[in-house]
């Protein structure tokens, strides 16, 4: 579904130049539900904006389905946003128009596309568990309910890709679970590819695959050891050890064979700028130069 190669994004103001993404690589397959984690400023939101068609990459290669987001025209971008991608922001003000009811909010993206499918809109709201709140104005809804309306909105154009930026950032853990459940159901029942961006590791644990971004680069990838355990998990609150136990962390090797070594390792071994590599046929050993 998503192929990202050497993605670079540079923000320029008059006197400052910030490289938010410096050659990011990753792939998401169709129907996958995965998470991207990283600290603030690591470039994860930038990545999501680019994937959502709200921002344009500076260089590199990004493909989402049939679209090449680097070369896409403005008109195609509109089309892309209408047909392919759904978006959920952390801040509801960016998701919703406060003066419309929940139902009207869901209908708005449909209106942009020209055809309003009220039945489907109601179905979506029912799906996120808001059938009794359909005609309420947004101010009358709680934060979690607003977030769920946002999910319904993002699905209104039947996207094949759903991007969620900190979808549980401003809600309590119970609501957060509800939202995550909804995502899982979406993924399973509709086959929607879902990419969640978060800084919350516990949230990331609930998906099959997690990519960690550091300083604008993919640093490591965690893959769930036993996918069947997923149902046994009871929300957040588990300790890091347990989380470590569910996922195996891998370092990422890029297309031309580069590897990012976690800073902690480097510090432990006192590696500065050179290492020595040894390969014995089954494994590669990295050593501090002697």
């Amino acid at each position: 579904m998503i192929e990202c190669e050497g993605l670079v994004k540079i923000y320029k103001t008059d006197d400052v130049e910030v490289v938010a993404l410096q050659g990011l690589n990753f792939t998401v397959t169709e129907g996958e539900m995965m998470a991207i984690i990283g600290n603030s400023g690591s470039g994860k939101s930038t990545l999501l904006n680019i994937l959502g068609g709200l921002d344009r990459p500076s260089a590199g290669n990004v493909r989402v389905g049939p679209w090449n987001l680097l070369k896409i025209t403005d008109e195609q971008l509109v089309h892309y946003k209408r047909k392919t991608v759904g978006f959920i922001w952390q801040n509801n003000a960016r998701n919703l128009l406060p003066y419309l009811t929940a139902l009207e909010n869901v209908e708005t993206p449909m209106m942009m596309d020209g055809k309003i499918d009220r039945i489907y809109a109601k179905e979506l709201l029912t799906w996120v568990g808001l059938e009794h709140r359909m005609n309420n104005k947004l101010q009358q809804l709680s934060g979690g309910e607003q977030q769920r309306v946002a999910i319904a909105i993002s699905l209104s154009n039947r996207p094949s890709l759903l991007l969620a930026d900190e979808p549980t950032g401003s809600v309590d853990s119970q609501t957060s679970d509800q939202i995550m459940d909804t995502f899982r159901r979406l993924n399973r029942e509709l086959g929607v590819t879902i990419v969640i961006v978060t800084h919350d590791l516990s949230l990331a644990q609930q998906v099959d695959r997690v990519i960690a971004i550091r300083d604008g680069l993919t640093s490591s990838e965690m893959i769930k050891r036993n996918p069947n355990l997923e149902l046994a998990l009871s929300g957040v609150g588990e300790s890091m050890i347990e989380e470590q136990a569910t996922h195996e962390e891998y370092a990422v090797v890029d297309r031309i064979g580069r590897l990012q070594i976690p800073k902690a390792y480097l510090e432990t071994l006192g590696i500065a700028d050179k290492v020595s590599l040894e390969c014995d046929g089954t494994q590669i050993t990295i050593k501090a130069p002697s």
């Binding site: 923000y11 103001t13 904006n49 959502g52 709200l54 921002d55 403005d74 008109e75 509109v78 946003k81 209408r82 978006f87 801040n91 509801n92 003000a93 960016r94 998701n95 919703l96 128009l97 406060p98 003066y99 419309l100 009207e104 209908e107 708005t108 993206p109 209106m111 942009m112 596309d113 309003i116 909105i153 154009n157």
Partner: protein, 930 residues
């Protein structure tokens, strides 16, 4: 449909902005439309006045076309009929105004007719008559003898009737047959037998002028035949050429509009060529083209003047709309970004806002037309600045051009709000958020527009200054009350430019102030100053609006008052008092010298006893030769008065004299021979109090000696630049010379009429030869359409600008505050008391609103002092006495302060409401955007 519902939701959610945008649009539209409406109406008034004036003689809108054959050319009958047809049918519809029925007359070459009766053939009576036909003749005449002509005569025999008078003039009898010799198209002589079958008279002698094309004399020379006879028998069968044809229309232009003028002028201009092309030797010999040119020039001039006066105000209204639109858009930017990120294309977003603009524009056109109508009426009924009277009929006219102006206003306003949308629509939510982080200086600061505008204003001032020199040195006079539009435009520009320059300095001032007082400033003031100096940009729009409205309001009110006051002053000075009466004096001639007349003074008492009169005074006016210390000093005007009476009736403007005028009048009572002289004269001849001057006055040129007791620059009704004046005691003059008729000056009671005075005087055997009433002159001035227009526009502009700044202010603060709720929430959460928050906001208001209002008043006054003196260059330079004065009416200033006070109060009220409503948790929960 969905988009409409969405739009409705959006508009409802932003209903205050929607409403104020609608209000602004409506004001703009109605104000713009009222001007052409008024000037169209005034044009009508002008037209009807002109038409009334020209009712003697031919009507004003007469169109007279004439065909005159040259030589004996054969008539091109086809062309002739074609032309006749064109004039009868096409022309009236081309001109498009109702007209009286066409009057036309066709004649062949005249002939000396001879009786066929041999008994009379010897008569030496010379009768030169012409055969003519006039369609519709039977409607206009009455047969008095014999019968009407029959259509068909025999080959060379025709039946004709003549006007009754012609029977006597030409010694013709009904029943006579005459021979009419005429040369036909082939050059052969044809002899026609004309039988006089009847005589007629006109139904209505009065409109003879209208229906006889070439005047009544022609009727006497005409043998009228039927048109059919003329056409078929004479012109066609006998091939006799047509000698002349006349067509006459009188149009009714009562309903003419400004917009009709151009096409009408084009039609008339072209008419001559069209006619000549159709039938050679056909011309328009009388048309009302010049009158139309006159109308057009006057209406264009008036419209231009009114628009120029209104331009700053209209610009301000547009500024208000733009500001409002911008603020409303800023609020909706997030919404736009949301729509964009959900797959809305730029085009959809722009269309959404255009649709909103169109909806509001449509509404405002409807309301605006109605309000514009009302405004135009108000313009017409203004009698001075901010005073409106119920004038009986103010013609207002609505034309498509008016609507065009309205549409233009709407289009501009929609453009003002849609263009920013187009810019916003390009940005998705990400780039929008990024932009928020940056603060750019407003474009006028970046490009130094304020300084450029200031330079423009200064060069405008320079131009006026050199112009005034010009008109003063050449003594060029212009039409009274023709206010130079630039005199309202340049000050507006100056206020604007100076305001911008100040705003450029504003943040620096704040920072300076902050630096100075940082140590001992309370926290609220500290916060205010920080807030203001950090986000000064966001206060600029409202500050500019207030500055401009208040400044313009002050300038316009003072300009209007000044024009008003000075033109009233001029008239009052010219008359000197309310009513000047000249009575008829009985007199008899000297037996030896015919030029000497001995008058008997009529009784003066009746004047004082009139109920309508408050006071009366005798004022003798005569001229004489002045001699100063034995040398002639030219002509002088001698005025004889009774000083106590005079002080009660005369109009003095106190600021013209160094001391109260009554002090001068009192001086006259010191000596019998006392005289007050004009200062230019005194200066020229180095005269001082106590000097002696001699005047030779009266028919006998009696020398009378006077002693100068006072020197004065002005005297009511006198112009010392034309002739020096000498004010003396009337009784003294009467003792020295034979009595000369004097004027009686009357000070009237309020609202008293002149007519009963004349009647009462007549009852007391006093005959009045002339009455001049200054109040009539003032009313005439007030009723002048362009003066009414000027005051109307200025008054309305003042009201409109006050209204706009009030609304603008309230809206601005209301929404600026609601946008800062998070900030307030945080401040409150940090422990700022409610009172402190209020103080902080009040401070902020004082420093922005208060400052810009104060500055507006200051700049307005400054511009008044700088620019208003130029107004006098537009008046007639000869009658620029009394000197010009610049007036600030306390009433107007009070109104201004009232409006401003109400504004501030409402603002403070809103603040309190907002702060009371403010709940910290809500503000914080609402988050960054809302």
């Amino acid at each position: 449909m969905a988009i409409l519902r969405f739009l409705y939701r959006k508009m409802w959610n932003n209903r205050w902005f929607t409403l104020s945008t609608l209000l602004g649009l409506t004001i703009a539209v109605s104000f713009t439309m009222s001007i052409p409406m008024y000037s169209d109406g005034s044009l009508k008034r002008l037209v009807s006045q002109t038409l009334e004036q020209q009712t003697n003689g031919l009507p004003a809108a007469s169109l007279y076309m004439k065909y005159q054959a040259s030589g004996n050319d054969e008539t091109d009958l086809e062309a002739f009929h074609d032309t006749d047809e064109f004039i009868r049918k096409e022309l009236p519809s081309d001109i498009g105004f109702p007209s009286d029925p066409l009057v036309s007359r066709f004649s062949i070459r005249s002939s000396q007719i001879k009786s066929v009766d041999p008994k009379q053939s010897g008569s030496s009576k010379f009768r030169q008559l012409e055969l003519a036909a006039q369609p519709r003749l039977s409607d206009l005449i009455e047969i008095t003898q014999g019968r009407m002509f029959e259509d068909q005569g025999q080959d060379s025999k025709v039946e004709a009737i003549v006007v009754q008078d012609a029977l006597y003039r030409h010694e013709i009898k009904v029943g006579d047959i005459y021979q009419y010799t005429v040369i036909d198209g082939d050059g052969k002589q044809q002899k026609l037998q004309v039988e006089i079958v009847g005589a007629y008279k006109l139904n209505n002698e009065a409109d003879a002028a209208a229906w006889t094309v070439s005047g009544q004399d022609v009727l006497l020379q005409s043998l009228m035949v039927s048109q059919k006879t003329l056409n078929e028998q004479i012109l066609t069968k006998l091939n006799i050429p047509l000698a002349a044809a006349d067509w006459y229309y009188s149009f009714d232009l009562q309903n003419i509009r400004t917009s009709d003028l151009s096409s009408l002028i084009r039609t008339l201009d072209r008419l001559d060529i069209t006619l000549f092309q159709k039938l050679e030797n056909t011309h328009v010999s009388l048309s009302f083209l010049n009158m139309l040119y006159d109308f057009r020039a006057q209406s264009i001039q008036m419209q231009a003047m009114l628009f120029a006066l209104a331009a700053p105000m209209i610009a301000m209204v547009f500024y208000f709309i733009a500001m409002n639109a911008r603020q409303s858009l800023e609020r909706q930017r997030t919404d736009i970004a949301v729509l964009k990120s959900r797959g809305g294309s730029s085009r959809q977003v722009i269309w959404l806002y255009t649709l909103e603009g169109l909806l509001l524009g449509g509404c405002s056109l409807i309301f605006g037309t109605a309000i514009g109508w009302f405004l135009a009426k108000s313009i017409g009924s203004s009698s001075g600045f901010l005073s409106f009277v119920g004038r009986k009929v103010i013609p207002i006219d609505f034309s498509w051009t008016t609507l065009l102006y309205g549409l233009l206003a709407v289009t501009m306003a929609i453009g003002a709000s849609v263009i920013p949308v187009a810019v916003f629509a390009r940005s998705s939510i990400v780039s929008y958020k990024r932009n928020i982080a940056r603060t750019a200086r407003p474009f006028w600061q970046r490009y130094y527009l304020d300084l450029i505008l200031l330079l423009a204003a200064i060069s405008g001032w320079y131009m006026f200054n050199s112009n005034r020199m010009l008109s003063a040195s050449t003594g060029l006079s212009s039409d009274q009350l023709q206010v130079q539009p630039l005199l309202f435009f340049v000050p507006a520009l100056s206020i604007f430019a100076l305001g911008l320059v100040f705003l450029r300095l504003f943040p620096w001032l704040l920072i300076l102030f902050h630096r100075l007082g940082r140590k001992f400033m309370p926290v609220t003031l500290h916060l205010t100053l920080t807030q203001l100096s950090r986000s000064a940009n966001s206060y600029y729009p409202i500050m500019i609006l207030l500055l401009l409205t208040v400044g313009l309001g002050v300038y316009n009110s003072s300009a209007a008052r000044t024009i008003d006051m000075n033109s009233n002053d001029r008239t009052l000075y010219q008359y000197g008092t309310d009513v000047v009466v000249q009575t008829v004096w009985e007199g008899y001639q000297d037996q030896n010298d015919e030029s000497i007349i001995y008058y008997t003074e009529p009784s003066f008492e009746p004047f004082r006893q009139l109920d309508e009169v408050e006071a009366a005074a005798r004022v003798l006016k005569t001229s004489g030769k002045v001699t100063v210390s034995g040398k002639s000093a030219g002509q002088g005007q001698l005025i004889g008065i009774d000083n106590i009476d005079f002080s009660k009736v005369a109009w003095f403007r106190p600021d013209l004299y160094p001391v109260h005028p009554n002090v001068y009048l009192d001086l006259l009572s010191y000596y019998e021979q006392a005289v007050l002289i004009s200062s230019p004269f005194a200066e020229k001849y180095q005269l001082k109090e106590g000097d002696v001057v001699t005047l030779s006055v009266g028919v006998e040129q009696t020398s009378v000696e006077f002693i100068v007791v006072g020197i004065m620059p002005y005297w009511p009704s006198l112009y010392p630049d034309n002739m020096p004046f000498f004010i003396a005691n009337l009784d003294y003059i009467n003792n020295q010379i034979n009595k000369i008729p004097y004027e009686v000056w009357l000070k009237m009671k309020d609202g008293a009429k002149v007519t009963p005075i004349v009647e009462k005087l007549a009852a007391s055997q006093i005959e009045v030869s002339e009455v001049r009433d200054v109040r009539n002159a003032l009313i005439d001035q007030i009723n002048h359409p362009s003066r009414g227009g000027v005051f109307g526009i200025l008054s309305l502009g003042f009201i409109v600008s006050m209204l706009i700044s009030l609304i603008g202010y309230i809206l601005y603060w209301f929404f600026a505050l609601s946008g800062r709720v998070v900030q307030f929430g945080i401040l409150r959460a940090m422990g700022l008391k409610r009172g402190q928050l209020t103080t902080m906001l009040l401070m902020e208001q004082l420093l922005t609103t208060g400052l810009s209002i104060a500055l507006g008043i200051g700049l307005g006054k400054l511009c008044s002092y700088i620019f208003l003196p130029f107004l006098q260059a537009t008046g007639d330079s000869a009658s620029q006495i009394p000197p010009f004065r610049i007036v600030f009416e306390a009433k107007d200033t009070m109104k201004l302060y009232w409006a401003v006070g109400v504004m501030m109060l409402i603002g403070v009220g809103l603040l309190f409401m907002q702060i009371r409503k403010l709940r910290v948790h809500e503000a914080v929960k609402l988050g960054e955007e809302r």
